[in-house]
């Protein structure tokens, strides 16, 4: 799909983005840890002490949700701006513009990996090895990356034409946050709504991540399969959509 040269360009775009993000800030990369941590603390206090939620290991439970959520929010937002923020190069050279979108998502993905690395260290120290199901995590991350990238492929070209998308997506993020089991367990959802609820591919990801890290449980084959197919179709549809739109990108920027 991509030549070696294009892959090296992708690497350059990703690393450059990552570097620029934390340049000129005193805490640098730590911000990528501090941001989800701050969100985590707020929710932890509200749900644990004010709302008295009854979930075992709520701290870890919540942290997994927040870290994943944080990736989703960062990657789709970066993906949304992926083309517009690179207009200066897109308007002046010809290359595979999708590299900009992939690079933006990869940058967020890199943060996710680093965040999870720190998280896993704490998990190991406090709770011990979570079990073989830990090795399901890479597949899960890949699925999640596909979902974010697929959505970004929709968002980025649309944003080039309609700047409203930026605002709409901001609202969408709020909605998605609450219809995804980030802060609460899926058991809170009434039984009859559950099938619809699980249409949200993010819900599957979060549930699977928790199962494999906290319960040492692999997802059922069916559930895992559906979730994977869902992620792949989002990516494919997004990429198809992008390919239809790509011809006019430079013109409308």
């Amino acid at each position: 799909m991509f030549t070696r040269q294009e892959l090296s360009l992708l690497k350059e775009l990703t690393i450059r983005e990552f570097k620029l993000r934390y340049q000129n800030s005193v805490l640098g990369f730590f911000w990528s840890l501090l941001k989800p941590l701050a969100l985590f603390l707020t929710f932890y206090i509200v749900f644990q002490y004010f709302l008295k939620i009854n979930v075992p290991d709520y701290a870890f439970f919540l942290l997994i949700g927040i870290l994943l959520w944080n990736f989703f929010s960062e990657s789709t937002t970066a993906g949304l701006y992926g083309l517009v923020s690179k207009s200066n190069i897109i308007k002046k050279t010809y290359f595979k513009y999708e590299l900009c979108i992939i690079g933006a998502c990869l940058t967020a993905f890199l943060s996710l990996l680093l965040n999870f690395l720190v998280f896993l260290i704490f998990l190991f120290i406090i709770k011990g090895f979570p079990g073989l199901s830990l090795f399901y995590l890479p597949l899960l991350f890949l699925e999640f990356f596909f979902i974010s990238l697929g959505l970004s492929f929709f968002l980025a070209p649309l944003f080039v034409r309609y700047r409203d998308i930026g605002h709409i997506w901001e609202i969408m993020m709020q909605v998605v946050f609450w219809i995804t089991p980030v802060a609460y367990p899926i058991s809170f959802i009434p039984e009859r709504y559950l099938p619809y609820y699980l249409f949200n591919p993010l819900a599957n990801i979060v549930v699977h991540a928790r199962d494999s890290l906290l319960q040492a449980q692999f997802p059922t084959f069916f559930s895992g399969f559906v979730s994977f197919i869902l992620a792949m179709s989002i990516l494919l549809l997004g990429y198809l959509f992008y390919n239809i739109k790509k011809k006019s990108i430079a013109e409308h920027l």
Partner: protein, 422 residues
């Protein structure tokens, strides 16, 4: 090799929507956007063979950059086709939008990869890029410390190191200093020797003349003519002259001319020196009347803008009201600030006009306008051999001179010839 066939490109220009109320805005959202189709390029056909240096000239907004962008595949044609053999490297609109927060070196890395180079190649070329750009130690400083000229130099240095088969150059000479321009010329020469294809957009006609094998003139998106640079440049230069001439005519002195005293009266000699300083004034006794003054360029076209080095013909129409002996026709040319450039008359030049017909004209031909540029006033007069003024048109006419290149300097082109001792 580049083959452009029947190429058309249109842009949609959307009319600004008025958002008055929310309701209005919502209803507008469901009506299709109104737009105008703007044809940036219309039916372009040309062929550039391998190793050819092809120039594109035209005014701003004539579609030059759009054409380069289409060849670079950044834009897609509305109709028609473009075939390019080999690796194309574009250098458009003063190079790449670099990232200010990164060092020159990091920017070069990214830019070269965008242009299709591998990392190892870039590392090998880094030194040459730094050297060519003349940036020295600045290469490791952040780009926001660079001047705009430095950025362009860096971008161009990177572009030429990518070893393209086809190089698209858009106005690189406009920003660099003289030293950099000279380096660019060396590169062009080198590329030419290596049989690389270059498409070159520039307002620098001298450079086009010097390097291009062929050139194309674009006007308002239409391909006017393709051919040898000399021919194209002439065509371009005089088409712009004609246009500026027509606008120039409007602001000429018409309507502002003051008649001194009553007709048919000669002012005191003492006052004449003062009068000569006034723009747009006329006096004289009108035994002979100057009825009209026309300026013609080397093509015999009536015009008021000339190029340095061209010829100019001043045609003075007159009407004789009374028989006179030995009339003297004269002209005077002044800079706008009043500096007297040149003055002559038929008497000085020993062109005896003993008797003239009732009505006619006399031509004064200046074979070579040697002044570089500026706006000039023209005096036209007829008097007798004892300086009794029949009709004196003082600074009543204007013309402009434009220099065709930017390389020689000063007030005048003295037309030097160099000779080396053997």
């Amino acid at each position: 090799m580049i083959e452009v066939k029947n190429l058309w490109k249109s842009f949609r220009i959307f009319r600004e929507r008025k958002h008055l109320t929310l309701l209005h805005e919502i209803s507008e959202a469901f009506t299709p956007q109104r737009y105008e189709e703007f044809w940036a390029l219309q039916n372009i056909n040309f062929h550039v063979s391998e190793g050819e240096f092809f120039g594109i000239i035209g005014e701003n907004g004539s579609g030059k950059t759009t054409l380069l962008k289409l060849i670079a595949k950044i834009l897609n044609p509305t109709y028609g086709s473009i075939t390019v053999n080999g690796k194309v490297v574009p250098f458009l609109e003063l190079g790449l939008g670099f990232h200010d927060e990164m060092s020159g070196r990091e920017n070069v890395m990214l830019y070269s990869q965008l242009l299709g180079m591998s990392k190892s190649e870039i590392k090998n070329n880094m030194e040459e890029i730094t050297e060519f750009s003349g940036l020295g130690d600045f290469i490791d400083s952040k780009l926001n410390t660079y001047s705009s000229g430095m950025k362009v130099r860096l971008a161009f240095s990177t572009a030429i190191q990518t070893n393209p088969d086809v190089l698209l150059v858009d106005e690189v000479l406009a920003v660099g200093d003289l030293k950099f321009q000279r380096k660019c010329f060396d590169v062009f020469r080198e590329f030419k020797d290596k049989k690389k294809t270059i498409l070159f957009v520039s307002h620098d006609l001298y450079a086009i003349k010097k390097f291009c094998d062929r050139a194309m003139l674009l006007q308002q998106g239409k391909q006017v003519v393709v051919g040898y640079p000399d021919f194209i440049i002439d065509k371009y230069f005089y088409s712009t002259l004609q246009e500026s001439s027509s606008t120039h005519e409007k602001q000429a002195l018409k309507g502002k001319i003051v008649e001194f005293q009553k007709k048919n009266k000669m002012p005191d000699f003492a006052r004449i020196e003062d009068l000569k300083k006034i723009t747009g004034i006329r006096w004289g006794t009108r035994e002979i009347e100057i009825t009209k003054v026309e300026l013609f360029d080397k093509f015999g076209k009536k015009i008021s803008v000339f190029a340095t080095g061209d010829s100019m013909k001043i045609r003075i129409h007159y009407r004789k009201h009374q028989e006179v002996k030995n009339p003297v026709f004269g002209i005077g040319i002044f800079y706008q600030n009043g500096t007297h450039c040149f003055g002559t008359n038929t008497e000085v030049e020993d062109y005896a006009v003993s008797s003239i017909p009732e009505k006619g004209y006399i031509d004064c031909i200046i074979p070579r306008l040697s002044m570089w540029e500026g706006t000039f006033y023209l005096n036209v007069m007829v008097h007798d051999d004892k300086h009794y003024h029949y009709d004196w048109h003082n600074k009543m006419y204007m013309f402009n001179v434009i220099k065709p290149n930017n390389y020689e300097q000063g007030l005048y082109n003295l037309g030097c010839i160099w000779k080396l001792s053997k």
